[in-house]
């Protein structure tokens, strides 16, 4: 049988970073194919290559046995490759009907034929057994699951040969997930091939016929799902030498610095209690939406605190704002570099020094000389690679941007560092550099809260690890007492029952899909 | 700041040469979009042609402010022509006060200024050439009394604050009707503003309030005249039900007069104003003495006398003859 889609040795580099270095993938007609891999394994880059957003450097794509070179997303779409991204692509103010036929509404002499459009939209939803979605309501009034169905309906109108779904269940409830599986089942019977990208192995096992595992931009394993061993798949996914990456810098842990009791925010977190000690690196794990980011924001005064108490060095200071926290020596590294963390069109110097300009002024006037000295000093301390301190930070790679963002907290000499996904979307070299900085900070007596979705780094860097589940911080233990499996179990709320690493089933891997492919820092230079 | 110094030297070298060649006369209207100003332009062009045919080389520069009611813009135009070293400036000032300073500077810089249409609170300008606006307004008032048979309710829709010529007309009109106690002024505090659009809105507002009581309306210049006639038609009071007298002729108001929506138009002679403005300036430049005040006259045009040839020339000036448009 001629495969519907076949990829042979696909390679793609961004600057010095090899995002894809030999991807193999073969999908049969009517097959549901799981594409499995860690954050940064190259799944997103692969999707972009298939959709025509990026051209591959080398390799062969065959569609129904014929070579296919996607030129751009429209070309790829017309050829029969449809994408459902994790972030849905809908016009929120328009109606369901308009969204389904957004690209090519039926028209005569430029006038839209509303009745025809309505019929077609209704038909498209009926095929998904989703007739209950009202055609006239605006998309923003629907649930996420309904929106996803609208997007699938739209994709199906183009009669796709291959439908690629990126983490489709990441924000769905259990019931909606079941419904989606039935939709996928129906698509399969219509002969549509589905590439199903997910972290949730259990789901893959339920609905997929075949799997392919990517690691570091390479296909490392594939086979039929039925006979696969999940533990084996996980090993293939992770399989890297952890010790090199995580330098252990010895540091002493002292008295409590930050004590949090029963912290509750507006919707999240619901209840957080922990102590952070001098020189301690406290990791916080959990699923997306568990309330980790919200906890940090509430601690930093960015989000309001509803209940509970926070005390710093023994003094209660629950209600606060970022300015006061910075004065108290608490700094936050935002999980969202681009939208919150950095002044993208300002210089490196501005970004590094903004929170503490005072020492750089003479008589209220900012001294160029002192700014130059300070930024040069911190750029070299943080190993920032750039043209100079006046370069706009938006022009740097993600890793270098993140080094500056962390450098800001260290320049500010914050004693408590709240780090939210500090290594998200950056290259391995920069990661190692940031781990070292964190270790050195602890060595010098600073305390760190390290939120991450990437378990190996938490296990490799932290002294203690806490897990959050549904808004509550439940379990705090020394890092040496945790295993990946134990963390996962705690994160999905089964920590008390199932902390044994060997217990089956190993359902899920905790983690988030990368926003734009973790290896692709070459993309982030604009 | 090298270029200004360089510029001073350059201008000193070239200034003499430029003067000997020809008279450059800037004619600065209040605006350029109304037909009244086109007539002035035609008169100025007529004078230019005549002077040139007499062997007196003359070039006119026609340039108004960007917006009709923008005093600052008109000041800029005067200033720019001053430093352009014009032989003379013929100016219709937008404001009797705001233009005093730039005119003073121009005269100081050796550029004589002649004022047309609206007066300026200054003694620096050569001559003032204009319609006797007060007389025109007074004539309109007397005609209104005649049309109403000595009694009725009257509205005066004013033009704009700070415009001396229209204020004089308004005052003339008010003085004329004051002598007749049976004529009642029911509104005289509304301003039409510079454009037909603002005039139209003001007219609608006034008529909305007084439409049922009013017997006669006077508008002191072209834009409100056209706008008010339109507003009267909208509410079905045009065609003589409400007697209306306007000021200045434009093609729209001439048509209104013909159709009977307007009962009379006080018409000035803008062509003559533009013509005399340039001619008088030329005389001054040739060293002749000029009158301090020159009246260009007003005429009352009605439906009855509008077909007479001299009236025709006035209400429908031969613009095409002088302006190549």
């Amino acid at each position: 049988m001629i495969p519907r889609l076949r990829l042979t040795d696909i390679r793609k580099s961004f600057g010095a970073t090899q995002a894809l270095r030999g991807v193999r993938l073969e999908v049969q007609p009517g097959q549901v194919h799981a594409l499995i891999g860690e954050n940064g394994a190259g799944k997103s880059t692969l999707m972009k290559v298939l959709s025509g957003a990026h051209a591959s450097d080398s390799g062969l794509i065959e569609l129904d046995g014929l070579p296919f070179v996607p030129k751009n997303p429209l070309h790829s779409h017309r050829a029969g490759i449809a994408m459902i991204y994790q972030e849905l692509n809908l016009a929120p103010h328009l109606s369901v009907e308009e969204n389904i036929l957004l690209a090519e509404p039926p028209h005569r002499f430029g006038w839209i034929q509303r009745s025809v459009r309505r019929d077609r939209a209704r038909q498209a939803l009926a095929e998904l057994h989703a007739e209950t979605i009202p055609l006239e309501s605006s998309v923003q009034s629907l649930t996420i699951a309904q929106q996803q169905l609208v997007e699938i309906a739209r994709a199906l109108l183009g009669q796709p040969k291959v439908l690629i779904m990126d983490e489709p269940t990441s924000s769905l409830t259990r019931v909606d997930t079941e419904n989606l599986f039935r939709v996928i089942e129906r698509l399969k019977h219509r002969g549509v091939s589905v590439v199903y990208i997910s972290h949730f192995l259990e789901e893959c096992q339920r609905i997929c016929d075949h799997y392919t595992v990517l690691r570091d931009g390479e296909t490392v394993d594939d086979g039929p799902m039925k006979s696969a061993n999940l533990r084996h798949i996980i090993q293939r996914m992770v399989g890297r030498d952890v010790n090199e990456l995580y330098p252990r810098i010895p540091h002493a842990i002292g008295d409590p610095v930050l004590s949090v009791t029963g912290l509750r925010g507006v919707s999240k977190p619901s209840s957080v209690t922990f102590n952070l000690r001098r020189g301690e690196i406290l990791g916080v794990a959990g699923l997306i939406g568990a309330g980790r980011t919200e906890t940090l924001r509430a601690l930093f005064g960015l989000d309001p605190v509803e209940d509970g108490s926070v005390s710093l060095n023994g003094r209660v200071s629950t209600k606060t704002n970022p300015r006061e926290r910075l004065r108290q020596g608490v700094g936050l590294l935002s999980e969202n570099r681009k939208e919150e963390g950095l002044l993208l069109n300002r210089s490196i110097a501005d970004n590094l020094l903004m929170t503490r300009l005072g020492p750089l002024t003479r008589w209220g006037v900012v001294s160029h000389r002192l700014v130059r000295q300070a930024s040069a000093e911190w750029m070299s301390a943080m190993e920032v690679r750039a043209q100079g301190p006046a370069q706009a930070i938006g022009e740097l790679s993600g890793g270098n941007q993140q080094k500056v963002a962390l450098g800001r907290l260290l320049y500010h000499d914050a004693q408590v560092l709240l780090l939210d996904e500090p290594t998200r979307g950056i290259d391995v070299g920069s990661k190692a550099s940031i781990y070292r900085r964190i270790g050195q900070a602890a060595e010098s007596g600073k305390s760190v809260i390290f939120v991450s979705s990437y378990l190996p780094e938490l296990l490799g860097v932290c002294d203690t690890i806490a897990v959050m589940c549904r808004g509550a911080l439940t379990t705090v233990k020394s890092a040496s007492e945790w295993t990946e499996h134990g963390i996962i179990a705690a994160a999905i709320g089964q920590g008390d029952i199932d902390t044994d690493a060997n217990a089956e089933p190993v359902g899920q891997v905790v983690g988030e899909a990368p926003p734009a492919g973790t290896q692709s820092n070459g993309l982030e230079t604009n | 700041m090298n270029s200004p110094l360089f510029g001073i030297a350059l201008s000193a070298l070239l200034a003499g040469v430029a003067f000997a060649k020809e008279y450059t006369i800037a004619v600065i209207p209040k605006g350029t979009t109304h037909e009244f100003w086109k007539s002035i332009h035609a008169g100025a062009a007529k004078a230019e042609q005549e002077l040139n045919s007499k062997g007196i080389k003359t070039k006119i520069f026609w340039k108004g402010p960007l917006r009709e009611d923008d005093r600052d813009q008109q000041i800029q135009v005067v200033e720019n022509f001053t430093s352009r070293k014009m032989s003379g400036i013929v100016l219709a000032p937008l404001d009797s006060r705001a233009l005093v300073q730039p005119v003073k500077s121009a005269v100081q810089a050796g550029v004589p200024v002649l004022v047309i249409d609206s007066d300026l609170n200054s003694d620096k300008h050569l001559s003032f050439i204009a319609t006797d606006n007060y007389k025109g307004g007074f004539m309109a008032g007397e005609q209104m009394v005649k049309l109403l048979g000595g009694k009725g309710n009257v509205i005066l829709l004013r033009y704009q604050v700070g415009s001396a010529s229209t204020e004089a007309r308004e005052n003339g009109f008010l003085d004329a009707i004051k002598k007749h106690p049976a004529i009642k002024l029911i509104s005289s505090d509304q301003y039409a503003g510079a454009t037909r659009e603002t005039g139209y809105q003001a007219s609608q507002n006034v008529l909305n309030r007084f439409g049922n009581q009013v017997d006669g309306i006077f508008c002191p210049c072209e834009p409100p005249t056209v706008a008010m006639a339109k507003a009267l038609r909208d509410i079905g009071k045009a065609g003589g039900k409400v007697k209306m007298i306007g000021f200045d002729s434009g093609s729209a108001s001439v048509l209104d007069l013909k159709n009977g929506d307007l009962q009379a138009l006080v018409v000035q002679d803008p062509v003559k104003m533009g013509y005399l403005g340039v001619m008088t300036m030329a005389e001054h430049l040739q060293g002749k003495k000029v009158e301090k005040r020159i009246d260009t006259g007003v005429v009352l045009v009605t439906r009855e006398n509008m077909e007479q040839p001299e009236m025709k020339e006035l209400i429908n000036p031969p613009l095409k003859k002088y302006l190549k448009e």
């Binding site: 006046a390 | 001073i8 108004g64």
Partner: protein
């Protein structure tokens, strides 16, 4: 435009050259305009004279001082559409105060402070209620224009003949470049102070930070609402000063003056290299932008071109200036 100049040589040289070009962009535009005007030999002898440059400078003062305030606002990511109305209002207020025989120094202070007060109201609504600056100042534009007409009783209010305020913008000795009226010197002096303030004080750096990314500014401990309040208030002082200059120039308070002035001012700031999305812009650039527009008006005037030609040219220059800026930025982003 940046906080630092690079000390060390090497790979920074190109970056430095690029930044120099960015900063020099508006200045090159100015030279280009002058060059084009000098091509016409007929007008050259009139345009390039000291007396004429004096006129251009005087004509730049009102837009230029307004641009000082507007630069603060635009760099912080905001906009102020009420400037024209504020200029009209404050000019009327000044005239009324002078007519009422208030001490001229007090009248001047009153005019400027009134501008500042209106700015503070704008800032308070924008920062306090988190409303869009466009909407708030659009509303304020109408409110203040109406207030100006009310205060003036719908007529122009003439300042007393020999009030010292009239002298601020008076053009003495019209055939020479010097002396320049006080208004020009005030604009230049304030321009220098503001350029320094924007680049070299903590407040100035905070303005850039807020405009670049408000969320980040908050994260960095900047009191965003308070800073915005000060930005609009300070800008309002400049708009009040513009109103004073307008009063001096017309020697009367005119409730219908400066309609659309805000757009001229915004154009000057944008020609000067600011982005309407905030975070970039410079005082020097904005001043040069104002100068470019005045020179274009002056030049097209003196060539005897029709008014509509002038409008088309200035409109084209705005689009061209911003277009070139975008082009330059996309070049540098690709490096």
């Amino acid at each position: 435009m940046s906080v630092v100049r690079n000390g060390t040589a090497g790979s920074e040289t190109t970056a430095r050259a690029r930044r120099f070009l960015n900063a020099a962009g508006p200045f090159l535009g100015l030279l280009l305009v002058l060059l084009l005007l000098s091509l016409n030999s007929e007008s050259r002898e009139f345009i390039f004279t000291g007396a004429n440059f004096k006129i251009v400078l005087i004509q730049t003062v009102i837009v230029g001082i307004g641009a000082l305030g507007m630069t603060l606002i635009i760099v912080s990511g905001g906009i102020d559409l009420s400037v024209g109305s504020v200029v009209a209002f404050t000019s009327v207020l000044g005239a009324r105060l002078l007519v009422a025989d208030v001490n001229p120094a007090l009248a001047v202070a009153g005019v400027i402070l009134a501008g500042g007060a209106i700015g503070l109201i704008n800032g308070a609504v924008i920062a306090g209620l988190r409303m869009m600056p466009f909407i708030v100042t659009l509303g304020m534009m109408g409110i203040i224009r109406g207030a100006a007409k009310w205060l003036s009783n719908k007529q122009t209010v003439s300042a007393p003949e020999n009030s010292p305020v009239n002298a601020i913008m008076a053009r003495l000795n019209p055939t020479e470049f010097l002396p320049l009226p006080a208004g020009v010197w005030i604009a230049v002096g304030l321009g220098i102070v503001m350029a320094f303030m924007m680049n070299r004080t903590v407040f100035g750096r905070h303005i850039f930070a807020i405009g670049s990314n408000e969320a980040t500014a908050r994260l960095c401990g900047i009191r965003v609402p308070l800073t915005k309040l000060w930005i609009y208030g300070l800008a309002g002082l400049f708009f009040g000063l513009s109103g004073l200059m307008q009063l001096s120039r017309l020697t009367q308070g005119d409730p219908s003056v400066a309609i659309g002035l805000e757009l001229d001012i915004i154009a000057a700031v944008v020609i000067g290299g600011a982005s309407l999305s905030g975070g970039t812009g410079s005082i020097l650039g904005a001043m040069i932008g104002a100068l470019i527009m005045a020179i274009l008006r002056n030049g097209t005037n003196q060539m005897g071109w029709e008014t509509y030609v002038q409008e088309i040219i200035i409109g084209g220059v705005i689009v061209l200036a911003v277009g070139l800026d975008k082009l330059r930025q996309s070049r540098s982003a690709r490096v």
